[in-house]
Amino acid sequence: MLAFIARRLMIAAPTVVLISMLVFGLQKLLPGDPVLAMGEDRDPAVLEALREQYRLNDPVAVQYATWIAGAAQGDLGVSLRTRQPVADLIAAKAPVTLQLAAMALGFALLIGVPMGVLSAVKQNTWADYLANAVALSGLSVPNFWLGIMLILLVSVNLGWLPASGYVSPSEDFARSMQTMLMPAFVLGTGLAATLMRHTRSAMLGVLRADYVRTARAKGLSERRVILKHALRNALVPVITVSALIFGELLGGAVLTEQIFTIPGFGKLVVDAVFTRDYAVVQGIVLCTAVAFILLNLAADVAQRALNPRLRDAP
C-alpha cells in the first residue's frame, strides 16, 4: 500500500507542475491589463510603477519562476488589489467553501438517493415519472434563477431567512446554518438530480440480480430486501459520484456564491479574474488542483482498503 501511495504521489508531482504552468500561461493569454482593470484613474507614471511593483514587465518565464519558487515554499504572493497575502485569503475562504460544499452534498444525498430508490422500485409508475420530472427540472433550472427566486420568496416576502451573507459556525452556529441553508439547497438540488439518476440506474441493475431474488425467496420483507440488500450494493457507484461532486464543489460554486454573496473560493476567483488579480487566481487554482489530486488519492486508497480484489492491481 505504501508503495502504491508513493507511486501515485510521484505521478501527482509533475501533474501539479503542469497545472501550474497551464494556469500561469492561460492567464497571460487573457486579454486585459491588471493595472487598468484595478482602478479608474490612469496616470501613466502610476501604471508603470504598478507594473514594476508586481513585476509585470518581466518576461513571462521569469514571472513564472519567481512565483513557483515562492509557491513551493508556501508563499503564494499578495493580491494585486488589496495586498493581502494570497495564502491568508485561501485559508479564510477554505472553511466557507467546505461548509457550503458539505451542506450542498448533504441536501443532494437527502433528496437524490431516496428519490432514486423510489423511482427504481416503482419503475414505470407515476412515482417514477414524477421523480424523473423533478430530477429533470433540478438539472434544467439554472442556479442563479432558483437562487434569486428563493431570495425573493423566502427572504423578501416571508422574511424567514437572511437573503445573503455568511456567518462562521464558530461565531454563531444557528445563524450560520440560516445563512447557508438556501445556497446549499440551491446548489444541492442540481446535484440531487445527478445522484437520483445514478441511484436509480444502480438500483435497477441490482434489483434484477440473483441475490435479490434469493433474498425475496427467503421470504424477507420487501422493505428489508430493498434497504438492506439492494441499496447497500447500489450505493457503491453513488458514493464514487458523490466524492467526485464534492471535489468539484471545493473549486467553489461560482454562481451560487455570487448570488448569496458567500465569500468562498468561487466568488474570490471570479472577482479576481475580472480584475486580473493574477496572484489570487493562480493561488486558488493551484490549491484546488492539489486538493483534488489528494482527494482522488484518498478515494483510491480507501477503495483498495475496502475492496480486496483491487489490492494486487498496479
Partner: protein, 502 residues
C-alpha cells in the same frame, strides 16, 4: 390648555421618551469590493466611500461643490497663487491616539509624494514643499499656480493618515489608521469591511451610529433584495430600472442626485491603425453619428427616464456646465446630409461595449437609431477589463465607456482631451484645446476658468472625440429606519447626522 390638548401633549412627551433608541449598526451594500484601504494607494470608487467614514480630509465639499473646512479650518492663497497657507483644527487625534497637527500634515503630504506605491503623486505634483509654520499651520509652496489643488485635497490626496501607523509603509492598508468618525475593525475580502464609532472624534456629536458595515454585493437585483429583506439598511447605485419598484415599497426611500460624470462613445481618431476609418478621420461623420441619436428617447427606453441626457463632460447640475450648448434634438436629415458631404452613403462601424445587459441594451438602441442615418453598427460585447485594455491600446473603432467624474472640472476633461492626456484613448490632439485646458489649470478665478472650459468644449462638440450620451445620477435606496442621509454629487456616503432607528 384644554384637556384634549394636554393629553395630546402628554402623549407626545411619552412617545418622545419611548422613542426607539438610536444606535446600532448601519449595513451598507456596495456595488464592488474596495481595493487596498490606503488613501495613498487606493484606486477604486468604493474605496473612497469607505474613506468617507474612516479618514478625514483637509477639506471637504458641499453638495453644491464648494470647498468647505474639515481638518483645515481656514486657508489663504498668496497673491502669486503659489503659496497655500492652511490653519488646522486643534484637538484632533488619530484613531491610535497620535495627535493631529502641522507636522502630521507635512508627513502626510510627503508620504503621498514619495511613497513608492503612492498613486497620488501626479495629483500633488504642483506641491514643491510643505512647511510647518506653526503647531497648527502649514504652508504649501507650489511650483506653479494650481487651481485643481483644493479639489485634490478634498479627496484622497487630502486624507490624513496617522504618521505613527504609516511607518509600516505599503502595508498600512491592511490595518488603516486615520482620524475620521469611524475606526477600522476588520476586513474580510469580498465579504465585509467593519468600522466602529471613534469616541474621540472631533465632531463626535454628529455621529449617531455605533458601527458601519460595508458589504460588497455586485448584483443589483440581489443588493435590492437584501435591502428589502432587512439584511441591509442602505444600498448605493440602485439600478435605474429598479427605481419604480423600490419607490413603491413603503419601507424604502429612494434618493437621487446628479453625479459628476458622464457616459459616452469614445472614437478612435489617431490611436493606431484602427483609427483609419471615416468615423476616425472625418469630424462630420462623428457629428452625423451624434445627431442621429435621440438622447431623450434613449433615457426613456433604457433608463426609465431616470438619467440626464448630455452632450458635455459636465452634467447640467455642475457649475461648469455650458448652458449655451444644450442637447440638440435628433436630426436624421442633417446627419444624412453630413454623411453625404463626407461622400458616404452607408458606413459600417464597430462599437465595443461592456458585456453587461444595461450597456448592451443602450448600444442596441443607439444601433437602431443611427442605422436610420446610414450607420451599420456592429456591436462587440467585451468583458470590461478586455474592453479597457483594447481601448487603451487602440484596438477599437468606437468604444462605449464613461467616467465617474471629479469635483474639479479639470478631472473630467484634461486627461481625455489634451494631446498627452493619460486617458486620451482617442488620441485626439488639438493645440488650441491643449492651450485652453492648460491655462485653465492655473487660473485662480472661477469665471475666467469657466470661459476656458466653454471655449474648449465648443471645439470638442464639433470634433467629437467623445460623443457624450448621458449623465448618470447616483441613486441610493434606504430603509425608512435610516434618517439624516444627505446625497452629494460625488456619490459618497457621509455619515454625519445619519441615524438608524431600532
Amino acid at each position: 390648555m384644554t384637556p384634549l390638548r394636554l393629553s395630546t401633549l402628554a402623549l407626545l412627551l411619552a412617545t418622545a421618551a419611548a422613542a426607539p433608541a438610536l444606535s446600532a449598526d448601519l449595513r451598507i451594500g456596495l456595488q464592488d469590493d474596495a481595493d487596498i484601504l490606503d488613501p495613498d494607494q487606493s484606486r477604486t470608487f468604493v474605496g473612497r466611500i469607505v474613506y468617507t467614514a474612516l479618514c478625514d480630509k483637509l477639506v471637504d465639499i458641499t453638495p453644491g461643490l464648494e470647498i468647505t473646512p474639515q481638518l483645515a479650518t481656514g486657508w489663504t492663497w498668496s497673491d502669486d497663487g503659489k503659496t497655500l497657507t492652511m490653519t488646522l483644527r486643534e484637538g484632533v487625534v488619530f484613531h491610535d491616539g497620535t495627535p493631529f497637527d502641522a507636522a502630521a500634515v507635512k508627513a502626510n503630504i510627503e508620504r503621498s509624494k514619495t511613497l513608492p506605491e503612492s498613486r497620488r503623486k501626479s495629483e500633488l505634483a504642483s506641491v514643491d514643499t510643505v512647511e510647518v509654520t506653526g503647531p497648527f499651520e502649514v504652508a504649501l509652496t507650489l511650483s506653479a499656480p494650481d487651481a485643481t489643488l483644493m479639489a485634490q485635497l478634498a479627496d484622497r490626496a487630502g486624507m490624513m493618515v496617522s504618521p505613527t501607523a504609516a511607518a509600516v509603509g505599503a502595508d498600512f492598508g491592511l490595518a488603516p489608521v486615520c482620524s475620521g468618525p469611524f475606526r477600522f475593525v476588520e476586513r474580510v475580502q469580498q465579504d465585509r469591511i467593519v468600522l466602529e464609532r471613534f469616541a474621540d472624534y472631533w465632531n463626535a456629536d454628529a455621529i449617531k451610529l455605533d458601527r458601519v458595515i460595508y458589504l460588497p454585493i455586485p448584483d443589483t437585483t440581489v443588493r435590492l433584495a437584501n435591502l428589502r429583506s432587512g439584511d441591509l439598511d442602505m444600498i448605493e447605485r440602485l439600478a435605474a430600472t429598479d427605481v419604480a419598484q423600490a419607490s413603491a415599497d413603503p419601507n424604502l426611500a429612494v434618493m437621487k442626485i446628479d453625479g459628476l460624470g458622464y457616459q459616452g462613445v469614445t472614437v478612435n481618431i489617431a490611436n493606431g491603425d484602427r483609427a483609419a476609418t471615416p468615423v476616425g478621420r472625418d469630424a462630420r461623420v462623428r457629428q452625423a453619428f451624434s445627431l442621429a441619436i435621440d438622447r431623450a428617447a434613449l433615457n426613456q427606453v433604457v433608463f426609465d427616464g431616470v438619467f440626464t441626457p448630455g452632450v458635455q463632460p459636465f452634467p447640467p447640475s455642475s457649475p461648469w456646465f455650458d448652458a449655451r450648448n444644450p442637447v440638440p434634438a435628433r436630426d436624421v436629415a442633417a446627419a444624412k446630409a453630413l454623411l453625404a458631404e463626407a461622400g458616404i452613403d452607408r458606413l459600417a462601424v464597430e462599437v465595443q461595449v461592456a458585456n453587461n445587459p444595461v450597456q448592451q441594451n443602450l448600444m442596441q438602441v443607439i444601433q437602431a437609431m443611427v442605422a436610420e442615418a446610414g450607420f451599420d453598427v456592429t456591436l462587440q460585447a467585451k468583458e470590461f477589463a478586455t474592453l479597457l485594455a483594447d481601448q487603451s491600446a487602440g484596438a477599437y473603432q468606437m468604444s462605449q465607456v464613461g467616467w465617474s467624474g471629479r469635483v474639479d472640472p479639470d478631472g473630467n476633461i484634461h486627461q481625455f482631451a489634451t494631446c498627452a492626456g493619460g486617458i486620451n484613448d482617442s488620441k485626439f490632439c488639438d493645440p488650441a484645446v491643449d492651450a485652453l485646458l492648460n491655462a485653465a489649470r492655473v487660473m485662480p478665478d472661477p469665471a475666467a476658468r469657466k470661459a476656458q472650459y466653454d471655449a474648449a468644449n465648443a471645439i470638442l462638440s464639433v470634433q467629437n472625440p467623445i460623443i457624450y450620451l448621458y449623465h448618470q445620477p447616483w441613486i441610493w435606496a434606504l430603509d425608512r429606519k435610516v434618517a439624516g442621509f444627505v446625497p452629494y454629487p460625488d456619490g459618497m456616503i457621509r455619515l454625519e447626522g445619519v441615524t438608524r432607528a431600532e
